[in-house]
Amino acid sequence: MEPDGAPTSSVGQTCDVGKLIKQGAEARVYSTTFMGRPTIVKERFKKKYRHPTLDKKLTHRRTTREVTAILRCRKSGICTPTVYFVDYESHRIYMENIENSTTVRDYIASEQKETQETNPETLVSLAQKIGTLLATMHDNDVIHGDLTTSNMLLRQPVDSSSPVVLIDFGLSSVSGLHEDKGVDLYVLERAFLSTHPNTENIFEHILVTYRKKSKKSSDVLKKLDEVRMREIGRASCRERV
C-alpha cells in the first residue's frame, strides 16, 4: 500500500493513469497520451500524516504554484512543457512529454567524454543559454526551487540553436527577493559542481551571462556570495564538532 492508500505500483507498471515512470517524495510521474499526444501526468499524493483539510489545501497550493510558474516562464519566452489539463480533484497535472530529448546532465557528460575537453565550445554556448534562461526567469520573479542539470532538457538533435527546456517546477514560487534568487542559483551551483567534475569554468560562464542579461543581477550575485559564505561557515562548524 502506498502512503496515500493507492495500490502499490512499481516503476514500469501501467495503471489507469498511465505507466509509472518515476516516484518521488512528493509525487508520482506517469507516462500516457492525451488526445493522442505523448503526455506526462504528475500526481501529488495525499500525505496521510497531515490533517486532511490542511493536506488538501497545501497540495492544491503546490499544484497551482507549479502551473503558475510554468505559465509565467512561458510568457517570458522560456521553453517549458505545455500544460494540457489540471485535475484539482486528484491533484494531477497533465503536461507535454518532451520526447526525443536529453538532459543537460547527460549532455555535459557526453560532450566532455567525446571531446576529451573540460570546456568544449558546445558547453560554453550551452552555459550562455542557461545563463540567459535564468536571468529571464529571475527577472520575472520566478524561483524554480530545484535547479539541477537533470531538470533541463535539450531536444534532439542538439545543435547551436536548440533551446534549453526547463522542467519540474514542483518547488517553484514567485518572489522578488534577491535572497531567494541567490539561493536558487546556489542550489544550481551545488548540483552542478557535485554532478559534473571540472566544470567550474562552465558554471562561471553561466554566471557571467546571468550578470550580463539580468537587470538585478548584481544584487542577486551579492546574495549568492553571502549564501556561499554562510554554507562554508556551517560546514566548518560541523567539522569542528
Partner: protein, 175 residues
C-alpha cells in the same frame, strides 16, 4: 470529412463531434434555438479556433467539472465556451468564443451524439453549408487570437500559438 468525432482518453464513454458550417445566414435564430433547448450543441466562433485539439482540451475540462459538480456555467455546452476563454469572466467568454448574430460561419460542438441525431437536428436548423473540417484553418484569425489570449511574440519564439493558447486554458484556475 464533413464532421469529426473524437473520444477522450480520460472519459472513454464521452464523444465529441465537431462540424464546420459556412455561408450561415441565421446565427441569431440558431442562438435562440440553443437557448430554447431545441438544439443541443455549442456554437463556436471559428476565428478563435486554431485546431480541434483546442476544443477537445476545453471539452475534456468540461466533462471533468461536470462529473465533480463544479461547472461554472449553466450547462456543459456553455462550459465549453467558458473553458476556451483565458479569463474567468463568463459573459465575456460567451461574447468572444460564441457565435455572434452577424457571423457567417460557425464551428458546432456536439457531445455524446452516438447516433448522430443531435448533429442532424442542428444541421436541419442551420441555413448554411456544412464544409470539410480541414478548412478550419482558413477561418483562424491569428492576430485576434493573440490579442484575446494576450500572447506576445516573445513567447512564440519558442512555442507554437496553439501551445500558448492551451497552456492558458489549462492554467486559468491557478491564478
Amino acid at each position: 470529412m464533413a464532421s469529426q468525432s473524437y473520444e477522450l482518453e480520460l472519459f472513454p464513454n464521452c464523444k465529441v463531434t465537431l462540424a464546420l458550417f459556412d455561408g450561415v445566414e441565421n446565427c441569431q435564430d440558431l442562438k435562440r434555438c440553443i437557448m430554447e433547448g431545441k438544439v443541443d450543441a455549442a456554437l463556436l466562433n471559428v476565428s478563435m479556433i486554431i485546431e480541434p485539439f483546442q476544443v477537445l482540451v476545453s471539452a475534456n475540462k468540461a466533462f471533468h467539472v461536470q462529473q465533480h459538480g463544479k461547472m461554472k456555467t449553466r450547462n456543459i455546452n456553455s462550459e465549453i465556451l467558458f473553458n476556451l476563454s483565458p479569463t474567468n469572466n463568463i459573459s465575456e467568454s460567451f461574447k468572444r468564443f460564441g457565435v455572434s448574430n452577424e457571423d457567417k460561419s460557425l464551428l458546432a460542438v456536439v457531445l455524446n451524439d452516438s447516433n448522430g441525431e443531435k448533429l442532424q437536428r442542428l444541421t436541419e436548423q442551420v441555413e448554411g453549408t456544412r464544409i470539410d473540417m480541414n478548412q478550419l484553418k482558413d477561418f483562424t484569425d491569428e492576430a485576434k487570437i493573440k490579442k484575446v489570449y494576450k500572447i506576445q511574440d516573445t513567447e512564440l519564439t519558442n512555442s507554437t500559438l496553439l501551445d500558448a493558447v492551451i497552456c492558458r486554458m489549462a492554467t486559468k484556475d491557478a491564478s
